[in-house]
Amino acid sequence: MASLEQLVEILGQRFGVLAESSTTQLTVIAQNSDVAIGDLFLLPCRRGPDRFYVFRATEYANVLNRTIDIGDVARNKLTMPDSYFSENLAEEQLVELRGLILGYAQHDQDQDVWLFYRPRRLPQHLTDVFRVDPSRDACGHVVGELLRSQLGSAGLHIGNLLAGEDALTSVPVYLPIAALAHHLAVFGRTGCGKSNLIMTLLHEVLRHNLEVNRGQLIERRASIFAIDPHDEFRTWHSNSGGADGIRGLVTALSEGETEELAAPFYYLTSRDVLDGPLEARVTLSRADITPDDVVSIMDFSEQQVAFARQLFGEHGERWIGRLFAGDVDDPNGDEGGAQFLPGSIAAVERRMGFLAHGATRLVSRFDPDAGLAYQSKLPDILSSLERGRLLIVDTTLLGELEQFLLNTIVARTLFAMRRALRLADTPERLRHELFGVLGVDDENGRIGQRTLADSLWERIENDDVPYLDGTRVRSPDELPVVHILVEEAPSVLNPVRMKFGSVFRDISRQGRKFGIGLGLVSQQVSEIDRGILTQVNTQLTMALGNADERREAVRVASTDIGGFAQELQVLSRGQLVMSTSLRDVALPVQVASYEGTRSRHGW
């Protein structure tokens, strides 16, 4: 491992000298040169063991050396005719940088490595300061060595460490695959590069699965269920001559890899006409929907919720059909119960109107007695997610409510399945628990979601859902990490929607232990339920124009990003601040362009 002297030699010429320092801010006096907010600097120090402090400039000022106030000079320039500003060789025009210490790397003698620590110490007086020059790979290697534990070395390659306006091409930043189960949020205004970031994540998950499948990596696979309201992830920029999207990645897989990583589909669409292989028409059945699903995506009163739940308790998977058929006169059965006002019943019917036959492209009718069999892709979707797949769902032809409903149902059912798995120790017990979490209770005459339960159990028995290893019940830890992306997160995850409980709140609190994580994508931070935000362990914060949103983003970050607060306004496209509880410090990252990523990995 390189010593302090060797690393200093690589860094080259001294850039400046530490002037004032406190635990909140450092001031560096440096030669007059072209610096940028966000530039990285290293301060080698020998107060205590050999250390390198990592300093990041958050503001700077032009100052003059040993002279009167620069304001006086400016006044002279303005008021004195024919005055000039003599050009000195050096040392007259300086810059004063102020910023924060990200932390320090300390050389561990025993392990002969540089270990990174949070900023609890200060460099000594008048320490030399070296600039990390993004144009010099050697500088990047020094940073990579010092920040190794913070950058990660495997997992999802988010981008490269940002130094000022430029990325250090030799310093990749990774998120561990486990971060997908610890919930992740992507915040950023329109046009800041969120879609490219999602594409990068999708690409990285597929690459990860490929490496696991090839035996190059011993780790769990990962799945992503991504709603794509603009239908851009499949073909990306291929229509305009750029890189192909997930379609290009999938079609580049070998036959065996396709079977293992993409079959039966990677792309679901609400369109009737399919363009290629491994694409399917997305359909749900009314039998897949519970009252809690619809309550999670639209406003209901307490009476309306109670009525819907009572109807589901009585009729189970046929409750929606009964509602639309007007068969709700005596929903209380023999047990009796609350009587509901006609107004409440009509209101529920009105709200559910988007699921009426002819009003939805997503949800099929379900009434076996009338010859309307169970038609749903939900069991296949869940089966795919449990085997490590990317699923892109084109929702361009779906309404917003349908889109939210699809997300909610997939998340809730998967969460229920994993809970059942956690509770079971034998195949019999697994079946019992699975039917239980889906509301099926034969002993008490509750129908629940029997058809869905039967369908899922059939897949478990056929090993399409890999819950059983012979007679052994697998632990959720052996299954892929599943990540459910929620686009336009405030629409579903706002505090009002949480009033009657929400599967997303449950997943945010408990999903981690079941290997299920949420991905919140939003332009607004302030509109998302705080209970959920506090459970998100990784924030990828891109440019935010609104001051309130920037404040919220700083507030909810897993690691302190206060030093980046002003920069959140001026981050360029594709630049973000990554804060995660899995690392000690927040890092600025330039997300690689998906075009570039494709050409680099190519498979």
Partner: protein, 393 residues
């Protein structure tokens, strides 16, 4: 103790008395005839926005003494210079020089022999040539009597080690002139080399005693003449006697309020048959020099420019005197238009900025000196400073 002296009646009476004496002296010195003569001698020069040439500035400073212990004192002298050429874009553009700022540590004790040896060694170290060479080649001794005596090293005054005032002046001025000499030796022909201060030779009238910097100052004049460089000293103070109201004279001469861009050569009995200074007053111009009073900008004070008399005689007073003077002050005006020191030559200001020591830097130098001495075997106790410990400083 709280400072309340100024509140006492006896003190207030004394203040009033001193002020009255000052006013009486001022009116007593007032001389209408001199005012008229002065006004008629004042000449304007044009505001100069275009000039081609070179200008160097020099300044010196130090810590006198940096530390003292037992009977010993360590003095630190610092001097720096900067050379510029005119530039159409930035006005003045600095030229790289080989010489870095001079820093010299001088250790002096109560032993005369050690003191003389150490002081002369410091002079030689600063100038880069032997003291004897400077004494032999300077024209200082030729300006007065007993030139043979003055060219001997023994004529040089070596103050006691504790005489910080005299030693400080000698060391700082020597360091400053040493940098000026380096500029004179290396700058292109025609360069204007400016030092901060005057060309005074305090002991020029004495036959057997002299100060090393007097010899060095004149040596600079000799070398400047030989190399075709213009060597001058600029003092921020005119040093005029009270009673002479030069601003009024300038107003009368130029017919405008707050006049600027004017100069007047300080008259002498020898050249002009009249003088601004009383017979028992200061010698202005100094021996061997010609002095001018100049106003570069209405916001900056009247300053005094000293030139080597021999240079002046050959280059200014020959031919079209007024034109030569205009040319001289045009160059001075041009180099005084930097936004950081408008109305004062920036090269001197730049040199000053580089040579000046902040209090923090003085403290660091002192600490380094003490640490080095301790490492060399001197007890740290020797450097305990009761004044510093008690805040009695």
């Amino acid at each position: 103790m709280r400072f309340d002296v100024h509140l006492r009646k006896t003190v207030q009476r004394q203040l009033a008395s001193v002020a009255q004496s000052m006013a009486d002296w001022d009116s007593h010195q007032s001389n209408v005839d001199i005012q008229k003569r002065l006004a008629s001698a004042i000449r304007p020069f044009s505001h100069t926005t275009r000039w081609t040439g070179y200008c160097g500035g020099v300044d010196g400073t130090g810590d006198f003494p940096a530390i003292s212990y037992a009977d010993s004192f360590v003095y630190v002298s610092v001097a720096a210079g900067a050379l510029y050429r005119s530039d159409p874009v930035s006005g003045l553009k600095e030229l790289e020089q080989e010489a870095s700022p001079l820093v010299e540590f001088t250790w002096l004790t109560s032993s005369h022999q050690q003191r003389q040896s150490a002081l002369l060694a410091s002079f030689e170290q600063l100038v880069g040539t032997s003291v004897d060479d400077v004494l032999q080649h300077s024209d200082y001794a030729d300006l007065g009597s007993s030139s043979v005596e003055k060219r001997r090293i023994n004529s040089l005054i070596i103050p006691p080690a504790y005489d910080a005032g005299n030693l400080g002046i000698q060391l700082r001025t020597t360091a400053e002139l040493a940098v000026a000499l380096k500029l004179i030796e290396s700058a292109p022909k025609g360069t204007l080399v400016l030092t901060d201060g005057t060309m005074s030779l305090p002991l020029a009238g004495r036959s057997k005693q002299s100060l090393f910097f007097e010899h060095l100052r004149r040596y600079c004049c000799v070398r400047a003449r030989e190399r075709g460089v213009v060597f001058a000293s600029l003092s921020k103070s005119s040093g005029l006697p009270t009673g002479i109201r030069i601003e009024d004279a300038a107003k009368a001469a130029l017919g405008i309020n707050e006049p600027e861009h004017w100069f007047v050569r300080v008259p002498t009995k020898q050249l002009d048959d009249w003088s601004l200074f009383p017979d028992d007053g200061p010698q202005v111009p100094p021996t061997g020099a010609v002095s001018y009073l100049v106003r570069l900008h209405r916001k900056s004070p009247v300053m005094r420019l000293d030139l080597d008399q021999q240079y002046w005689q050959s280059a200014i007073a020959t031919g079209d005197v007024e034109k030569n003077e205009q040319k001289l002050f045009a160059s001075l005006d041009y180099v005084s238009h930097d936004q950081r020191s408008y109305g004062y030559p920036y090269p001197i200001k730049a040199a000053h900025d580089r040579a000046s020591l902040t209090e923090h830097e003085r403290t660091v130098l002192r600490q380094q000196l003490v640490e080095s001495a301790v490492q060399a075997g001197i007890s740290r106790d020797a450097f305990r400073d009761p004044s510093q410990m008690t805040g009695h400083r």
